[in-house]
Symmetry: C2
């Protein structure tokens, strides 16, 4: 071995054994984060605004560096190029997406989780983490289904069954639920060995159907589109049912769509209710949907990725009434359980449900083992359930209930502020803690009733441009942030309009900050380019 | 608001803002981990051995606690019940699975990643993390495909395309590749709008086929079984081709299986090569497979979840020759890139490939945006790519190359030790850094040639029990760990036998430790219950 090779080798051992010195750059950054996360992030993040195109220049090399480099040099790079140019998702003025501040204890606990580097696919690489994850799933199962103690005593640690699956997020959770539903409908039957074994084509031949379909409201999360593609259903067979004025699935329209499917010999195998739509936060009429699912004999899944934790609140849990009748429910822990990114769950009412997708291997997941991996879509997975366990233990049911109450209350206050403000129009009122609105001055709103359909369309197009421009400029200013989306509005003849979308889940967001959000938006409208659009609207009206 | 409610509220704000005091329990644990990870884990983990059933008692409550609890109390629980009962996957004697020691810098960097809590699905919640992840994908693409600079200049940050997808692990990576392959074969064509839109049934009608199939060797990872189930292909159509004596796909058997499929009017849409099988670490003849895929016109995917990083090694990269001809390649970063659990990638040779699964939504992933989420199976995702970026930057190509060389060298040494040892039988020799073996004393090995088929079968069953028992007892002793699996052995008439499986990827594992692993196994065999099995073998032979 040459001298250089030997030196390299020694350095290699070092990086696996020697911790960072406290006075190194990485040590200092690490220390700063440990000492005061909120403060560190506030100081370091909403910094210099650079365009994405400009930032890309720092990440344009496509070759892996040949030589090793010092940790300290890399840390400087991270601080200046990555941390300083990331998005401060925990800032109280960041009210546009579903990422919020984290409880401080999540950080040291995450570090323990990372250091232990358990792999939850099997007991041999996770030991106590396996029963811990099973307990987390049981606790969430209990939150939704509230079965008797004897039920949980029987199933919680049963090696052949699982009350749910811990996933990297809501998309995998929803996909798992629909996978189970598809395989249940097309399960083994007589000489047919089931869709898992024989595939889609033979399953349809066996069912004597021309296709399978899923029924859900127009407000469904886009993950369902991916799921039907993946599962071989086809996007055409994701039936998006119209909603009522309150963004909830229209039960009559649902019945009509169902009748249409039957006529075409297409078999709906899952009805999906949304408990907290991504765009407006509304909850479908879950009880009525459960009735209908029972009537037509299909799997009832509730996508409660966002709204699920509403069940913690004594005041608001009634909004989700009927969820306990769902066959499966998705809840994201990285949303309203305030766990870091990458933690979703799907719970199944029936402990046998996940058998429809059970799988084994020779080196792990052997029959009779308690390996969690035999009932999950994913394989190797980190011990993120530990952070849910921590949240449930430390914050408790009442603590989470209070957080939910705070968010919904704040959303109602913000809605009132928008209604009272002469320059804004509330588009969808909050049912949970999400609302949408747009800039639309009082002098315009007063005249809407008198405008022709054509005028209305032209004005909406201009307002769309204003919404887009204001949202972009506010985001780029780096102080406050709302997101935007496009919604069909019943007030405007079902026309799609652009709206600001605000998510009120960060407990650090105050009404003062919300007032600031609106003020800043008004100030942006006064900037020349945006004012030009306002002038055009005036010309149409006059 | 009552006084209690107010107090609760103040506590709630505290947990989102006030960091843990350095002298608290959590602070102390956190500090200990920061100071010296390896030492902390060694002191705290391979501790008291308790049975899983016993541990389950600590995780048996199914109700979420009503009241909040102190972080310090919870931390005590974590230390005693979770950390002390987890698996020390980083221990140098843990040579049974693919989880190894982590470079120390991964911990503080992980903490930064967690604190920033970016969501990579969209630029609005990730900013600089988006180009950073694109760069990581480009670097791995370059490692495999080594296209010209102009290629990367054109595609690396192109909003309409992606060179790959970052995933939670290899299962999602493989599934994404096969999803793309399926959708490519069944893409829009004339009046047929494609499988993504119209579904599986119409796709097969359009192709005039009775089914789709995937061809792969018997040593395929079990994730492919899940993928064919999920994608509607059916497990019957995952064609497991026989392997040669070296655990590589038998090209003649492959041709025969292909002919059979054609006769049954089943269309193979993907041929999968394995670069480092999970159980034995062997590499399929990738060049020959690429030829065959070209000949029959199907997608060629290489599952290099384990073996991909062999490309870093100047000495051994030739083993993967032909991988550059694959249409897609899976590489797991949480395996031989030494990144914490939960990081996989799939790379596509053609930047247009991922368009086959492209999707959009109104509130994010809009057309023309650079949001990474429009080309991933998953939705919200953490910024794990940062840790790959760190590894590539700090360890560098040469550093990773050295780690690979070390592992392969060590595996060959271990194989020699097993061959030289009178009580062990090497079952599969290492090509990369994985090998399998079993306990089988010299006096037995000497007689194998003279045994009847029946005797041989009986003895193998007893040896299987010994392997299982020794593996279990060694694992439970908590000092060293090998895994076990079942393999068809050509030496024993294709009979399935149980074997120890050893993975040599931890740079801290020394040959002394490997000698200890064997000695400990010999000592376990001397324990009464196992010795009883040995006696039974003696009776058969005499």
């Amino acid at each position: 071995m040459t001298e250089t090779a030997l030196a390299n080798l020694q350095n290699l051992y070092r990086i696996f054994t020697v911790p960072e010195a406290p006075d190194s750059t990485l040590g200092a950054v690490d220390h700063a984060i440990g000492e005061n996360v909120a403060d560190f992030l506030q100081k370091h993040i909403v910094a210099l605004e650079r365009s994405l195109e400009d930032i890309e220049k720092d990440f344009s090399a496509s070759k892996i560096p040949e030589e090793p480099s010092f940790v300290s040099a890399y840390t400087d790079f991270v601080k200046q190029k990555l941390v300083a140019q990331s998005v401060h998702t925990a800032a109280p003025g960041f009210v546009g997406h579903m990422t919020s501040a984290l409880p401080y204890f999540m950080l040291p606990l995450s570090r323990i989780m990372t250091a232990l580097n358990q792999n939850l696919v099997k007991v041999e690489t996770s030991k106590a983490f396996t029963p811990m994850e099973r307990q987390v799933l049981a606790m969430l199962h209990h939150l939704i289904y509230a079965q008797k103690d004897s039920f949980y005593d029987q199933w919680i640690h049963d090696s052949q069954h699982a009350l749910g699956a811990f996933c990297s997020g809501g998309t995998i959770a929803n996909t798992t639920a629909l996978w189970v539903a598809r395989n249940k409908l097309c399960g083994p039957d007589g000489s047919f060995a089931g869709i898992a074994k024989e595939g889609f084509f033979k399953a349809l031949q066996h069912l004597n159907s021309s296709g399978l379909a899923i029924l859900v409201s127009r407000r469904a999360h886009y993950s369902l589109g991916k799921a039907v593609d993946l599962l071989g259903i086809g996007r055409d067979n994701l039936i998006l049912v119209d909603t009522d004025v309150d963004n909830r699935i229209d039960m009559q329209a649902l019945r009509m769509e169902y009748t249409q499917l039957c006529k075409r010999n297409i078999r709906p195998f899952a009805l999906v209710g949304v408990a907290g739509t991504t765009e407006t936060g509304h909850v479908d009429p879950l009880n009525e949907m459960a009735d209908f699912a029972a009537e037509i004999g299909c799997h009832f899944h509730v996508d409660a990725a966002w709204g699920g934790p509403t069940l913690f609140s004594e005041t608001h849990s009634h909004l989700l009434k009927g969820i306990e009748r769902a066959d499966s429910v998705t809840i994201d822990a990285h949303k309203q359980l305030y766990v870091p990114m990458g933690a979703g769950m799907v719970l199944f009412k029936d402990p046998h449900a996940l058998s429809a997708i059970e799988h084994h291997a020779n080196y792990i997941l052997r029959h009779g083992s308690k390996d969690l991996g035999s009932h999950t879509l994913e394989g190797s997975r980190p011990g993120k359930a530990m952070l849910v366990h921590a949240g449930l233990s430390i914050i408790g049911r009442k603590g989470y209930g209070l957080l939910i109450d705070l968010g919904i209350e704040k959303a109602h206050k913000f809605a009132a502020m928008i209604n009272d403000h002469q320059n804004f129009e509330l588009i969808t009122a909050p049912e949970l803690n999400i609302l949408t609105y747009r800039y639309s001055p009082a002098w315009l709103q007063d005249k809407v009733g008198q405008l022709s359909l054509e005028q209305c369309g032209e004005i909406n197009s201009l307002l769309d441009l204003i919404t887009q421009e204001v949202q972009k400029r506010q985001r780029e200013a780096g102080k406050n942030f709302v997101s935007r989306t496009r919604l069909r509005s019943s007030r405007y003849h079902g026309e799609q309009i652009s709206v600001f979308r605000s998510v009120l889940a960060n407990p650090l967001t105050t009404t003062e900050i919300l007032a600031e959000v609106l003020e800043e938006q008004c100030a942006i409208v006064k900037e020349t380019e945006v004012q030009g659009l306002i002038d055009k609207i005036k010309q149409i009206i006059e």
